[in-house]
Symmetry: C2
Subunit: 211 residues, 2 copies
DNA sequence: GTCTATAGATTGATAGAC
DNA sequence: GTCTATCAATCTATAGAC
């Protein structure tokens, strides 16, 4: 029956990681107790210490579990459509309205991890590698398109700029959704690639979101 | 002697706010106890409750105290130089290497406040207004330059894009300084304004920062 | 308004049974 | 490996003296 026990062990680990990721994203890591994670996973706090040893180690494990998450998201967005504006729109959509495969608010979890990483050298190196992966994935994808565009920077640098714009726009959108329309996002991404929007000019947005 | 007492009261409030802002930025809000703030300000925890009533109210007060901080930073950066690339470089510098007037790591404090704001409607409205101010300030400044550039979006939308790029680049730079050079930043900002870099082409950065 | 002392609650982590 | 019970530390907030 070792098979069954291994299965249960693996399932417990998976459930703990899943519950932790979801709760961390929604409430913030510091606001979530070890017991809360265990409860949400249908286990007890003891199992967390058996599997991970500490809450910090659990955070590290969550970060590690979704290792190539950002890179995968980026890659998937580019698969979807053919023309550049549509692809960039899909890329932006994966930040704003994520696929079910990731949690609904995976970007919030990224910010939680970032906030810890900038203060913890070990976490920082982990997360830095993740972002480097994401940039590399974008650079490759963007390379396929390179005949269509005329970017002012190298592919990797352009990926850095695209990722930056996505992160910064999503931050502002969380505070004030009306301030960041999809059209503005795509227009900005296109501008970083040295490309202009084709025919139909994007609607402008001079009225601000907040009253 | 009411004068002296009022002075002491005001000074205590100022010291508490200053200590709180600094500690919150460096250690993260949740990692800083009320006692720690009071100690750093040379007072005791009781004074914090006399002045603010709760730790959450202290956070709100910190956010409120630096109300137009981001807008002021943005405005100041544009005053510095005349030609566009130099101005954009100054703008980027205010994020990377802030003036002494702000704390050295005011951007970290902004992220701390953001992380709370996305989960608290009251804080969110406050911070949204602050960002709207910053965008408006940038839009005005950028308007002065509008003959030099050919932005693909409205002034306000362009400000949104510029702010997004600054935020996102700074995030990546905190994780991996080598991945985001000053030249890439300025190149990106210029691209969002529809302008290319003049004569001297920017050094590329194809080797990634992390080993 | 400021300080001291302390209540009240929560949390991360450990020990031991099964 | 998982659970129950519990310890020890920490933190927010309050009460009362000055």
């Amino acid at each position: 029956m070792a098979r069954t026990q291994d299965q249960r062990k693996a399932e417990t680990r998976a459930r703990l990681l899943d519950a932790a990721a979801r709760l961390f994203a929604v409430q913030g890591i510091d606001a979530v107790s070890v017991d809360a994670v265990a409860d949400a996973a249908g286990r007890t706090s003891g199992s967390i210490y058996a599997h991970f040893g500490s809450k910090d180690a659990l955070v590290t494990a969550v970060l590690d579990e979704w290792k190539d998450q950002v890179a995968a998201v980026v890659a998937a967005a580019f698969e979807a459509a053919r023309d550049l504006p549509t692809r960039l729109d899909a890329l932006w959509a994966s930040f704003v309205d994520p696929p079910d495969s990731l949690g609904e608010s995976w970007v919030l979890l990224e910010h939680e991890l970032w906030a810890r990483a900038v203060r913890d050298p070990v976490l920082r190196e982990q997360l830095a590698a993740r972002y480097a992966n994401a940039r590399a994935a974008m650079a490759v994808r963007y390379d396929d398109e390179s005949d269509d565009v005329d970017s002012p920077a190298s592919p990797l640098d352009t990926a850095t700029l695209l990722l930056a714009l996505l992160l910064g726009l999503e931050m502002q959108r969380r505070l004030d959704p009306a301030a960041v329309t999809d059209d503005v996002a795509v227009t900005g991404l296109l501008a970083l690639l040295g490309a202009r929007r084709p025919v139909e000019s994007a609607p402008t947005n001079d009225g601000e979101g907040s009253p």
